[in-house]
């Protein structure tokens, strides 16, 4: 039982960091990013590429995958999302859906990921298939490290949002865009930066995931739905909400898959039902401000 709990927490940590990016984007810009999973995938790709070409450890490659995803996100925002926003929220939804198709298939081109599955394999990777046993509980070492990386990043994000000018500008734009504009904040650039930052977080998650999971162009869709569930559960725009929501989802799925008979096939349904219930009856989620 304890094992199930910790398994859930480990996977929940990964979910959390992906959802963090999404909730950031949503909180500041009210944009629902259907292409968020693709940022994760791009992060995975960058780590994979660096690992296979120069042997760079995925955890270290975060230094590169995060900015790479930031750039992609920023460009996507400036050239497409910003203009689509004028058409309304559904418009951006459709736009990011189109962006999703574009990114998935672009990355599936032969000179990038290609159509097949790839995996980081090799010797001498201390986290490779390394099972850490603490007491009677087994941990996947890579995910455990990822869990700590996530924790650190959340703290850094918190500091960023509360202590730096840009961070404060982001929060201001999220809370009162018009007032922020009046005070002299360039809401448009801030939005672009936020989108990029959200994408960067997804990229970090990708690098962590690349240690353990297969990499292919359409893997993003697996994470996208879960991210939505977490963002809604935790409260759209809430950082602690995304973190805790991620853990809750991970643990729920873990318990559901382990203890409910026949639960393994229906595993994803649990999350979806939670999602609908929260959306309908408590749309602000656990910590959010309301829809």
């Amino acid at each position: 039982m304890v094992q199930t709990l910790f398994d859930g927490l480990m996977i929940g940590g990964v979910y959390a960091i992906i959802a963090l990016g999404l909730t950031l984007i949503f909180g500041v810009m009210r944009v629902i990013n259907m292409a968020h999973g693709e940022f994760v995938m791009i992060g995975m790709f960058v780590s994979y590429f660096l690992f296979t070409s120069i042997g760079l450890d995925p955890f270290i490659s975060i230094i590169i995958s995060a900015p790479a995803c930031f750039l992609v996100g920023y460009l996507l925002y400036r050239f497409f999302v910003e203009k689509a926003k004028e058409g309304g929220e559904e418009n951006t939804l459709l736009l990011t859906a189109g962006a999703s198709i574009f990114l998935i298939n672009f990355m599936a081109l032969p000179f990038l990921l290609g159509p097949n599955f790839s995996r980081l394999t090799g010797d001498n990777l201390f986290w490779q298939n390394n099972v850490l046993n603490i007491g009677s509980v087994s941990f996947n070492s890579a995910l455990l490290m990822g869990f700590f990386v996530t924790g650190i990043l959340i703290c850094l994000l918190h500091l960023f949002l509360t202590k730096t000018d840009i961070g404060l500008a982001m929060r201001a734009s999220a809370q009162e865009p018009q007032a922020a504009q009046i005070v002299g904040i360039n809401v448009s650039s801030i939005s672009g930066l936020t989108f990029g930052l959200g994408a960067a977080f997804a990229g970090v998650a990708g690098s962590i995931l690349a240690t353990t999971y297969p990499i292919y162009a359409s893997i993003g869709s697996l994470y996208l739905v879960k991210s939505f569930i977490i963002v809604v559960l935790g409260g759209m725009g809430s950082i602690p909400g995304a973190a805790i929501g991620g853990l809750i989802l991970g643990v729920t799925e873990s318990f559901g898959a382990t203890y409910i008979p026949g639960g393994t096939g229906y595993r994803d349904v649990f999350g979806l039902i939670i999602f609908l219930i929260v959306l309908l009856y408590r749309p602000q989620g656990l910590f959010g401000k309301g829809v």
Partner: protein, 328 residues
């Protein structure tokens, strides 16, 4: 000229010309185009005219498809009945769904429909007893239409042509009724519409019902045509998204939109398969497709129809004032 007459003429011409040079393969492309026209029209009722973007319409398609397969296999009813029943099931299913989620606005509604469709997807994969799970269902009896056995591609084509014409006309006339106008009112400004006395929930439910019904009918035909269905060809996000994109590309909120969008997208896809560059990079087509969608949404939200209108306006500068109908 009354639209019915006009559609009959066009349909008639197509029905006569196509068999002159069509082969098996061409019939199948055209039938696919027609199926997507129907699906696009169905989605458009709710999404284009009523402004409620659904990302889970595949579930109605699937309900129609599975119903028609099961009914044809076990009761061997005529296609007309089967499709109607399939559509009806989809429509009935939409009632509680709508009541449950219509309180959600815009993108949240879309996400909720997505969640529902995904739940149905997982259920379909696991509920062996009803859907035969992942293995899928094969059609064991030949479908009949008004007593005529429909088996080969050309026979399916003619039925599809008829159905697509009926579906498109139905949507056209529906939008000319009071209900239709209330759909548009809701789309334009739900609060103002309510202030004018329109019951938004009832209106949206009506739109959803017809939209689901038509998707169910089209889905039923889709199943009978392929003679095989499984969860992966009926309940994926890809199917839902395709319904949206053929409409958006052609022109959201117009009757011609799904027709044009579907025609172009499907035939383009087949045509490009012949071009060597696309053969080596299979996903290249989709890269361009995705990019195209993005560009249309940002720069030409009214779709191709809007594009044509703009071109005509450009050439008849200062002329045609009568062309200021809002297409959404």
């Amino acid at each position: 000229m009354k639209p019915v007459i006009y559609v009959m003429i066009v349909t008639g011409i197509i029905a006569v010309i196509v068999p002159l040079f069509a082969d098996l393969y061409l019939y199948s492309i055209l039938t696919t185009v027609l199926i997507w026209i129907m699906l696009g029209q169905a989605w458009n009722l709710l999404g284009g005219f009523t402004g409620q973007i659904s990302f889970g319409h595949a579930m109605f398609l699937a309900i129609g498809a599975y119903s028609s397969m099961i009914i044809t296999n076990s009761l061997n009813l005529d296609m007309i009945l089967t499709l109607l029943v399939g559509g009806l099931f989809a429509g009935l299913f939409s009632f509680p769904l709508g009541l449950l989620i219509f309180r959600l606005k815009g993108p949240y509604f879309a996400l909720a429909t997505l969640a529902f469709a995904e739940i149905l997807h997982i259920v379909a994969r696991n509920w062996k007893g009803l859907t035969n799970g992942g293995e899928g269902m094969m059609l064991s009896n030949n479908a009949t239409f008004l007593g005529i056995e429909i088996f080969s591609n050309d026979e399916y084509f003619f039925v599809a042509l008829l159905l697509a014409a009926i579906v498109s006309l139905s949507c056209y006339y529906l939008m000319k009724t009071k209900a239709g106008y209330s759909f548009i009112a809701i789309r334009e400004n739900q609060d103002a519409a309510e202030a004018m006395g329109i019951n938004s929930t009832r209106t949206k439910s009506t739109a959803l019902f017809f939209s689901a019904f038509l998707a169910g009918v089209a889905g039923g035909f889709y199943g009978l045509y392929n003679k095989f269905i499984d969860p992966e060809m009926t309940l994926t996000v890809h199917m839902s998204a395709e319904m949206i994109f053929v409409t958006v590309l052609g022109g959201i909120g117009t009757i011609l939109g799904p027709v044009i969008g579907s025609t172009i997208l499907i035939t383009l896809q087949e045509y490009l398969k012949e071009v060597p560059m696309f053969q080596s990079f299979s996903s290249l087509y989709l890269v361009i497709y995705g990019l195209f969608i993005m560009i249309i949404i940002v720069y030409l939200p009214g779709g191709i129809i809007d594009g044509i209108k703009k071109i005509r306006q450009y050439f008849s500068k200062g002329g045609d004032e009568s062309d200021y109908s809002k297409s959404g």
